[in-house]
């Protein structure tokens, strides 16, 4: 029967194409501690849910002897599948095929699956493992990158876009992940940079290893390009699977509701915070004291640690948390922390995730390096993001809320729906030490014992202003609450905000300071 012959022929062709770069290349991939592109897709998606497209696509290179080369699937695998039985689109660059280099057809495959994802309103997961542009294809490979970036931008804020860096991602290629919502990196495997160590050495004489220049920890801790750091590919896949439970499938849906769980408190919430306002504590303990099952999924754990961002659930619903972290740099706002929080707030706003802000912040970090690094411009991003967000916004002031930082951390004045303060809150234009020096300058200067007078005036200012009641008397704070009421207050205020409608003037788009 000729029909059977056709089927056998198809199977043979499929088998050959699915081998990618062949056994030797796969062995090399495994020797580098990496999984193959197909294994990665399988590990992320539900079992047996992957459906591949464009397996038989061939490259179109006709120069430099490329016309005689066969590159299976042109170095990238695309398809759709499910995660928790919900549809997702995925692509994975195959390093075993010509180093995963990007030529015209390789890019066409990626843009095809991106178009699908956007049209079908499903999340897009991109696995990057590529040596970069396929030089032999010249300007065609540049066209390919450009078409990917264009789609990343169009899809931004419509569907979740997740980038997984599991190999090199260098040169222009880095800009696709940079345009997406979440970037995952793995120690010793991920390498991201615009120009490599070799070029940097010849041009600038700076000697640096690839890991030090653009390794996983560098992007997690220093550049802020990566959102999740893992020690192995398997750990990375678990992180992706966890993240996806917190986010909605597109911008017109809400995240899946989970069964309600009470927090697993080891001690009462007020015991977490030291009574001396000069002593640090881990703000994540406060978050865990109010979230369902004390589960908190932190994003950008290592970058700008003075602010904490991430997802948790309250009454089964996903909440985006933004919280100053007194444990690092006293919880100050600075360039990096403003930038980190601002982008996260915009993510939550785009995807209908309410924002809970926990505030304990002494002000902006002073210093020449901050001023010259543009703390005005970066700090403004935070104001912009909070003001612009129309999702439910609730703030709890734990201790310090001074000066410009008080305004920036989702104050009533930027449109917070509910603002609560603990009785330990200190809401004032500046800290007592600084304020006393200015307000009581004359008294201090003219006193017989200026040091003693200064101390006295600091205390006076503290008693009068470093508390939540001045702000509460103006209605800037809705209620001063006992720490133990925090979860109940959050639950109720989020429930009340469930159908919140808030509009902004019609515009093409704003012009945020970036």
């Amino acid at each position: 029967m000729s029909f059977k012959r056709n089927i056998l022929d198809l199977r043979k062709r499929k088998k050959e194409a699915q081998q990618g770069g062949g056994e030797a290349a796969i062995e090399k991939q495994v020797a580098m501690g990496k999984k193959t592109a197909r294994e990665r897709i399988k590990a992320i998606l539900d079992e047996n849910s992957f459906h591949e497209y464009d397996l038989f696509v061939e490259h179109t290179g006709r120069d430099f002897n490329m016309e005689n080369k066969v590159l299976h699937g042109d170095g990238v695998i695309i398809g759709t599948g499910t995660m928790y039985n919900q549809p997702v689109a995925i692509y994975a660059q195959d390093f075993t095929v010509a180093g995963g280099s990007l030529g015209l057809m390789h890019a066409r495959k990626i843009t095809k699956i991106m178009d699908h994802a956007l049209k079908m309103r499903v999340p897009l997961i991109g696995i990057n493992d590529s040596g970069g542009a396929r030089i032999q294809e010249g300007v065609n490979s540049l066209a390919g990158y450009g078409e990917i970036f264009y789609r990343n931008t169009n899809a931004s804020g419509v569907i979740p876009q997740i980038s997984v860096i599991l190999g090199p991602c260098a040169g222009g290629a880095v800009y696709s992940p940079a345009l997406t919502d979440f970037v995952f990196v793995v120690e010793n495997i991920s390498k991201m940079f615009i120009t490599g160590p070799g070029v940097i050495k010849t041009v600038l004489g700076e000697e640096i290893t690839m890991e030090e220049l653009g390794g996983a920890m560098v992007h997690s801790e220093i550049t802020g390009n990566a959102h999740f750091f893992a020690k192995s590919e398997d750990e990375c896949f678990e992180q992706i699977k966890k993240l996806i439970t917190f986010i909605p499938w597109n911008n017109s849906e809400k995240a899946l509701k989970f069964p309600v769980q009470e927090p697993l408190l080891k001690k009462s919430i007020e015991e977490i915070v030291p009574s001396d306002p000069h002593h640090p504590y881990d703000i994540r303990d406060i978050i865990k004291a109010v979230t369902d099952g004390s589960d908190f999924f932190e994003i950008m754990e290592y970058f700008a640690r003075n602010i904490v961002i991430g997802f948790g659930r309250i009454q089964g619903n996903t909440i985006g948390f933004v919280a100053n972290q007194p444990m690092y740099l006293a919880g100050v706002l600075d360039c990096d922390s403003s930038d980190k929080a601002a982008r996260f707030i915009r993510y939550c706003d785009a995807f209908n995730i309410p924002i809970v802000t926990l505030e304990d912040m002494p002000g902006y970090l002073p210093g020449v390096d901050q001023e010259h690094a543009g703390v005005i411009r970066h700090g403004a991003k935070l104001l912009y993001a909070y003001s612009e967000a129309t999702v439910p916004k609730v703030t709890v002031i734990i201790r310090k809320a001074y000066g410009g930082g008080y305004i920036a951390m989702n104050s009533r004045h930027l449109g917070a729906d509910f603002v609560f303060a603990w009785p330990t809150a200190e809401i004032a234009v500046m800290g007592p030490e600084g304020a006393a020096n200015i307000v009581f300058k004359k008294e201090i200067d003219e006193a017989e014992n200026p040091a003693e007078m200064r101390k006295q005036k600091i205390q006076e200012y503290k008693d009068k202003f470093a508390n939540p009641f001045v702000a509460a008397s103006k209605g800037y704070i809705d209620e001063v609450i006992e720490p133990s009421e925090t979860r109940a207050r959050l639950i109720h205020s989020l429930e009340v905000s469930g159908s919140k409608v808030d509009t902004r003037p019609s515009k093409k788009h704003g012009i945020p300071p970036f």
């Binding site: 070029v199 010849t202 041009v203 700076e206 640096i208 030090e212 001396d276 306002p277 000069h278 002593h279 640090p280 007194p326 444990m327 740099l329 006293a330 919880g331 100050v332 002494p362 002000g363 970090l365 002073p366 210093g367 390096d369 310090k400 800290g431 030490e433």
Partner: protein, 106 residues
């Protein structure tokens, strides 16, 4: 343009040389240096509240070397890894700028 000719510098981008002007920010850029894990430096300006470790003392990762008061907060400066304190470069009450060497480990 002509008047400026003498100010042009050779600038290499992707193996090609270009004549161009540089910016002040570029000229003043700091050369990257590998961090020495045995040097404990201040990451924020502040004053030393207390010093707990002494030279010669052997400490485990996470143990407190000293406490730095910065931005109204007492921040514990801890050992990045197990080791022996070689020197303590600051004393109680010192006011220090950012990136000051506070202690060395061996």
């Amino acid at each position: 343009m002509k008047d400026n000719d003498s100010n042009y510098q050779v600038f290499v981008v992707n193996s090609a040389k270009y004549l161009t002007l540089t910016t002040k920010k570029f000229d003043n850029r700091k050369k990257w240096q590998r961090l020495d894990p045995n040097e404990i430096r201040s990451f924020i300006p502040g004053s030393i509240v207390d010093v707990f470790a002494k030279p010669g003392q052997s400490l485990k990762a996470g143990e407190v070397i000293l406490v730095l008061d910065a931005m109204k907060m007492y921040t514990r400066v801890t050992m990045p890894h197990d080791g022996v304190i070689k020197t303590i470069e600051v004393a109680k009450g010192d006011r220090i700028p950012k990136n000051t060497l506070m202690a060395t480990i061996e």
